[in-house]
Amino acid sequence: MINLLQLKSRSLGWLLYLPMAIFVAMLFFIFGIPNNNVNVVIVLLQLTFIPLVCIWTLYLFYDLLGTGNFQYMWLYYKTNIEKILIMFFVVLFIPLISLIIAIEFRFDEFQTLPILMLLFTQCLISAVVSLILFAVFGDVSIPITLIFLYISAELATFGSSKYLYHIFFLNLQESLNFTNTISLALLNLLFGLVGYKIFKLLIT
């Protein structure tokens, strides 16, 4: 399976190097800026990694959903789509967990578990929504555009628009703990799992 991810990541081209660049930039942001606010770091972490998850997931299944060879490629994918997604999440969480350890090391008032839980569910829902959009439209540019529109809208209104579902924790005042993240994480998880079922229904 590692072989498979290695080869699939080769087909990602320049996108493969983006998480590395983000990782280095985030490390600089965590350690390089004095008097930094932990909430700003968390917001930035979400706003960089979540779109990346979307794009990576889209390109991970580009051969299946975006090349017009769906029926044929499905012969190859039907037994291992979950395995690929799980492996992808494991690989993705290595830099994410490293950054969270770095944040914990840098900021005293930081709690690791709530942010891990939140990030995991955010990755899940964003990956699943990307896949649904890709399966529906069959053109990778449409989900990418919609995802960036959503993130721009969330950022512009800072998570206060009543017309949008908010997957992000965009709060610079309150500290991030179990109490104020659990409902968001649970909702993200629920929608993520339901979304995955919908995605499977769409492609089978």
Binding site: L7, D63, Q71, L75, Y76
Partner: protein
């Protein structure tokens, strides 16, 4: 042998395949004009698509080995940024049967050693198609289904690919090839199926096919200006230019020919038989 019983396929109300009953054996060539339903039939045999209710596909496997199907679709264009070796490795891993020795064997068999480390986007159409057939053999199939093997290839590449298909025919139980090019079928196949508008026009050997249209093929030497008149009588299948004004024409017609001095009966050949079948009646 693959037995197809009562196969129909309806897509959005259109009957793409209409009650097909076939017995495919050896190297079977499925030929028909564009839109005949060949690719749909190939997809159904390859289990990529399902037929309508009541349709049956039976693989009469003579060996004790499990049924493994290798399939090359008409449009095989994936992983432009991966090398030939990487594509084969990736697809084998996805199928769960990665065997580097087998991949090396396929690279050798399809004469791909010089292209092993070249990206897919850098390959010519013929090499691309060879990689496509190699990937269909990754799971060591006993049934090989190839949709339009020579689509978009030049004549030299077509000949190379036909030779490769003949070579691999010994390694699999049955090969099913679809094509709209009569040359592909005539050169490679020992069992022929002609379909048009989703219906069977003919099934049998090449000699049986030629026999069926034996009295329908004629040859004539006429003036170039008279070509249009001949089109009214029948279907022209071959034109050889004799001089600036004169041409030798081979044509197929079901109309009675009176002037046998001008129109000489000849052997129809595969192309002639094929054309006459398309103009003929539906075989139940």
């Amino acid at each position: 042998m693959i037995t197809i019983k009562n196969l129909s396929k309806t897509i959005r109300g259109n009957k793409i395949i209409d009650n097909l009953n076939l017995k495919l054996k050896g190297i079977t060539g499925i030929i028909g004009p564009n839109g005949a339903g060949k690719s749909t039939l190939m997809k159904i045999i390859a289990s990529v698509e399902k037929g309508d209710k009541g349709s049956e596909i039976i693989f009469n496997n003579t060996s004790n080995e499990p049924i493994r199907i290798g399939y090359l679709p008409q449009n095989f264009s994936i992983y432009p940024n991966l090398t030939v070796y990487e594509v084969l490795k990736l697809l084998a891993t996805l199928k769960g049967n990665f065997d580097s020795a087998h991949i090396e064997y396929l690279i050798e068999l399809f004469n791909l050693a010089n292209y092993k480390n070249k990206k897919m986007k850098e390959l010519s159409g013929g090499t691309h198609r060879r990689v496509g057939i190699a990937q269909a053999l990754l799971n060591k199939p006993n049934y090989l289904i190839i949709d339009e093997p020579t689509a978009g290839l030049d004549i030299i590449e077509c000949i190379k690919l036909r030779n490769i298909l003949l070579t691999i025919s010994e390694k699999v139980e049955d090969i099913i090839i679809s094509s709209h090019l009569p040359e592909d079928i005539e050169y490679i196949c020992n069992h022929i199926v002609v379909i048009e508008k989703g219906q069977k026009r003919f099934e049998g050997s090449l000699s049986e096919m030629i026999q069926r249209s034996e009295n329908l093929s004629y040859e004539a030497t006429i003036e170039l200006n008279d070509l249009q008149k001949l089109n009214v009588i029948g279907e022209i299948v071959k034109i050889d230019k004799i001089s600036d004004k004169l041409v030798k024409v081979k044509f197929i017609t079901r109309k009675p020919i009176a002037d046998h001095q001008l129109y000489k009966p000849v052997q129809p050949g595969f192309l002639g038989s094929y054309v006459s079948l398309l103009k003929g009646e539906v075989v139940p």
